[in-house]
């Protein structure tokens, strides 16, 4: 059977200016403009929001869960960790 589904777009949501855009989910849409509209309905109606990004899911290059070596750290590198002082959480910009 022919696949009649639209492509998916990953949705990134920004709560307020200066905050990072955070991945919140995906929508099916015929193009990016409509994807933004659907993203607004699904992710910006109740959550406060100042900006949305949509990115075609197929445009994302990702690592493979099978490829564990990619993240492997075998030697003790704890001397690199900033563990002897408390870094304050980033202050809100507004």
């Amino acid at each position: 059977m022919m696949d009649t589904q639209f492509e998916t777009y990953e949705v990134f949501h920004q709560r307020k200016k200066g905050d990072p855009h955070v991945h919140v989910g995906a929508v099916h849409a015929p193009d990016a403009q409509v994807a933004l509209q659907y993203a607004r309905d699904q992710f910006a109606r109740r959550l406060p929001c100042v900006s949305l990004w949509v990115v075609k899911s197929s445009d994302i290059t990702a690592t493979d869960y099978q490829d564990e070596r990619f993240f492997n750290i075998t030697l003790d590198k704890s001397y690199r960790d900033p563990k002897d002082f408390d870094a304050p959480a980033k202050e809100p910009t507004e």
């Binding site: 929508v27 099916h28 849409a29 015929p30 409509v34 509209q37 309905d41």
Partner: protein, 262 residues
Amino acid sequence: MTAAFSQEAVKTFLLALADDELMLGHRDSEWTGHAPVLEEDIALSNIAQDELGHSLVWYTLLQQLGGNDPDAMAFERPWKEFTCCRFVTYPKGDFAYTVVRQYLFDEAEQVRLRALAHSSYLPIKEAAAKILREEAYHILHSKSLVERLGDATEESHRRMQAAVDAAFPQALGMFEQIEGEDGLKAAGVFPGNSELQLQWLHQVVPVLSGATLRVPVTEANGSLAVRVAPDTGGRRKDHSEHLRQLVDDLQAVYRIAPGARW
């Protein structure tokens, strides 16, 4: 106020606005759980709620002029007492019809609200400015679907054209004259339905034509002449059986326990 006008005429005007929003909102809500894609299901349900919210704004203004409370207006009136245009009472049809109807309605609401934002009648002026902000999104949604479905595939074009053929004469019924309209015009409450229809035509004809859809309108020397008879009657409470069915459905739960607190 530039001229005297009857409060009855204002009430007639507000009632028509409120009833239109209520009925279209209900028809849109019939897609909840049935739209062709999940994203549209959510979008249409969202729009349905917005339209119901707009009807509440107008019913509340009516109440302030001595009318019944909004719940009574929506859930206790017999179907023959509503003054919505027939256009908003027809069954939801296929998705193409729903898209075309919503688009034609949204454009009419845009031109009406823009005019009402300059109304000489302060409560209407303030309400219009508030609703207008929400409507900007509706028009974006329905217009982008019309532009895409008009010439996407052979089937989408055929369905959209059939929808325009059916909906266009019905849509003209949105601009049916109401009683006391001349007085409201003279007083600057609103510019009158024939003026609004003209502004509406100048919005919808280029968009539909641009989407490769034929419209029954002739353009000559920059003016637009409509070639079909409008489907009027709703403002005079002359409705089809479709409204009876709609109101039965709309009021069914309320009638089980009138006045219950939820």
